[in-house]
């Protein structure tokens, strides 16, 4: 069953010198329990689609619909707190929070009490293959692979149904990259999440259940 869908979505923005149509009439329905890969060249509109799916922006035309409700008609802050999580190539952890505090953040935002949030965060960190040793370390004290695992743990903490990942292995070596992809796959196949990965790495795309190709703002099944 479709959990998230794009319905004739177009997105246009004005740069200094021209009007750019980043996404053109994109339509697609994403389902739970599957891994999707969106591939395409740089500037093809992949990240824009991700931004629209995350509710960080609204389409110029068409609708992004989550569980039957268009993102334009919902509390998008709540949507990002509870239903969707984004993982980035640059990890984007809070530099002044420890690994444990980073994972606790979305839980505290949801109003979970500190003690419970701490226990849940610890569980999440351990679930991505890290040990208690990293709990009190700041992001700068962690390797790239460890930072990305913490970012995934943070994404999982609020138990979202949709996980969006923007080039999640872009800054990692092959081994760490493969581990991250395996974690994402297990989230889809074992935890029934809808995982959408934006990548230009065809090796990752090959591991996805569905590959979507973006070219000049248009989306098509590969």
């Amino acid at each position: 069953m479709s959990i998230l869908s794009l319905k004739d979505v177009s997105y246009t923005y004005k740069s200094r010198y021209q009007t750019v149509q980043a996404v053109k009439n994109a339509s697609y329905s994403f389902q739970q329990g599957k891994v999707y890969a969106i591939v395409g060249k740089s500037g093809s509109g992949k990240t824009t689609v991700l931004s629209l799916l995350a509710g960080l922006d609204l389409p110029s035309d068409g609708q992004v619909v989550y569980n039957g409700t268009p993102t334009g008609k919902m509390d998008r802050d709540k949507y990002r707190r509870e239903d969707v999580a984004v993982i980035y190539q640059a990890y984007n952890l809070f530099p002044l929070l420890t690994a444990l505090e980073n994972v606790m953040y979305p839980l505290e935002l949801k109003g979970v009490k500190a003690k419970e949030a701490r226990a849940k965060a610890a569980e999440m960190i351990e679930s991505v293959g890290l040990t208690e040793e990293v709990f009190k370390r700041y992001p700068a004290m962690l390797s790239g692979g460890e930072q990305q695992r913490i970012a995934i743990a943070r994404a999982l903490a609020a138990q979202p149904k949709v996980i969006l990942a923007d080039e999640p292995t872009g800054n990692l070596d092959t081994e760490n990259g493969a581990n991250i992809v395996n974690i994402l796959k297990s989230l889809a196949h074992e935890k029934n999440c809808c995982v959408i990965i934006v990548t230009h790495d065809l090796a990752i795309a090959e591991q996805a259940d569905v590959v979507l190709r973006m070219q000049d703002g248009e989306m098509a099944t590969a």
Binding site: L56, D57, D77, Q89, N92, E108, D166, E167
Partner: protein
């Protein structure tokens, strides 16, 4: 997410960057206080000069006379109630004759009065050019009383066969045509030297005022001079003088020689206060510029410090932190640091100078407000950034 938890954590871990806000606010608060102190000290000096330098004034007619002015009672009352008069020195004269009333009329009466001494009421001994000789038991303060005593010239004593301590009867006369008269008995308590014949008889002002009332005459004052107070606001006093129909001689606005002018002798005060006043004027005029400069620094510092935290802001937004909560967290951080710095500045000022005026306090609070306005604008501007663009920037 508790602001009470998030804000202190961020402030403590931000280290040097937190100290920047604190230090800037501290330095600016100290500077504003020192600047305000310098102005206050000069204002105090100015007040002391105004208190110690006597400014006098007197009423003069347009033809240059300081006596025979016939100043109306209402004018004197207006001056005394103005709040600018510390002391008024007045004389009030009345015509009449020495001795009991004599049934005379027409030219005989006018000649009699013309050749008789006038009775002059005064409220200060400073009326005399040379100090009079006063009998034991009396002193200079007799003029401030309503006692029926008088001073006569040495010549008059001989002329009327009187001696010090005798009673002198004086009969005051209203006018030539509708004659009314009233007598008063005055004890001679002293003499003075006078080149005039007949020389006037001097008594306390209130004695003459009482005769005016008994004869149903308008109480007119012959001469008036003053010691002024509230000399910081002499311009206000000058405006009041215009309302009391005094003529500005310098402006040459008078045409009737009977019109009166009020001369203020404040040259000494002006010379003494000129440099202090110009310092105060200059620093006060510069104050808004200094203040805006400090506020501008606060504004820029807060704006720049917040702008460099765009990535943090973007992460918060992408995780679903509302714009309101994001604003409150950033704003509270800046507010706490700025207030802490300003409070430290006020504390250090108090510790060193033992004093801080309400104006200085308000100025520092004003700076804090400007700083927070800068912070607010920076935070609101961040709300317009493309979160995804920041978060997907490739390393």
């Amino acid at each position: 997410m508790s602001i009470l938890k998030a804000v202190p954590r961020s402030l403590l871990r931000r280290g040097v960057r937190s100290l920047v806000v604190l230090a800037v606010s501290l330095v600016i608060a100290l500077f504003l206080n020192m600047y305000g102190n310098a102005i206050s000290q000069h204002e105090q000096t100015l007040d002391e000069l105004h208190a110690s330098i006597e400014v006098t004034g007197y009423i003069i007619s347009l033809d240059g006379n300081t006596q025979g002015l016939d100043i109306e009672e209402q004018t004197i009352k207006g001056l005394e109630e103005s709040g600018f008069i510390r002391e008024g020195i007045y004389t009030r004269k009345i015509w009449g004759m020495v001795g009991p009333w004599q049934e005379l009329a027409g030219t005989q009466l006018s000649n009699k009065i013309y050749n008789s001494p006038r009775l002059i009421g005064a409220n200060s001994i400073t009326t005399f050019a040379l100090p009079p000789e006063i009998m034991d038991g009396y002193d200079e303060s007799l003029f401030a009383s309503a006692e029926k005593v008088c001073l006569v010239s040495e010549d008059s004593l001989g002329l009327y066969g009187l001696a010090i301590g005798d009673e002198l009867q004086y009969t005051a006369v209203s006018d030539w045509r509708n004659v009314r008269h009233s007598s008063v008995s005055l004890k001679i308590v002293g003499t003075y030297e006078s080149p005039f014949r007949p020389a006037a008889i001097y008594c306390p002002l209130d004695v003459v005022t009482a005769l005016y009332r008994e004869l149903d005459l308008p109480v007119l004052t012959d001469s008036a001079s003053f010691i002024l107070q509230n000399t910081q606001e002499l311009n206000q006093f000058r405006e009041l003088l215009e309302n009391l129909n005094f003529i500005n001689q310098q402006a040459g606005s008078g045409s009737d020689y009977k019109q009166l002018s009020f001369i203020i002798s404040d040259r000494l005060l002006k010379n003494a206060t000129a440099s202090v006043q110009s310092y105060i004027d200059f620093t006060t005029a510069l104050y808004p510029v200094i203040y805006l400069l400090c506020a501008g620094i606060g504004f820029v510092v807060s704006y720049l410090l917040i702008r460099i935290r765009k990535p943090e802001f973007a992460i918060m937004r992408s995780l679903g932190t509302s714009k309101v909560l994001t604003f409150l967290i950033f704003f509270s951080e800046q507010g706490v640091l700025c207030l802490l710095g300003a409070a430290l500045g006020i504390f250090l000022t108090l510790a060193t100078t033992q004093h801080i005026s309400a104006q200085q306090f308000v100025t520092v609070i004003g700076y804090v407000v400007f700083y927070l306005v800068g912070a607010s604008i920076a935070i609101l501007a961040m709300n317009r950034v493309n979160v995804m663009q920041i978060l997907t920037a490739k390393e």
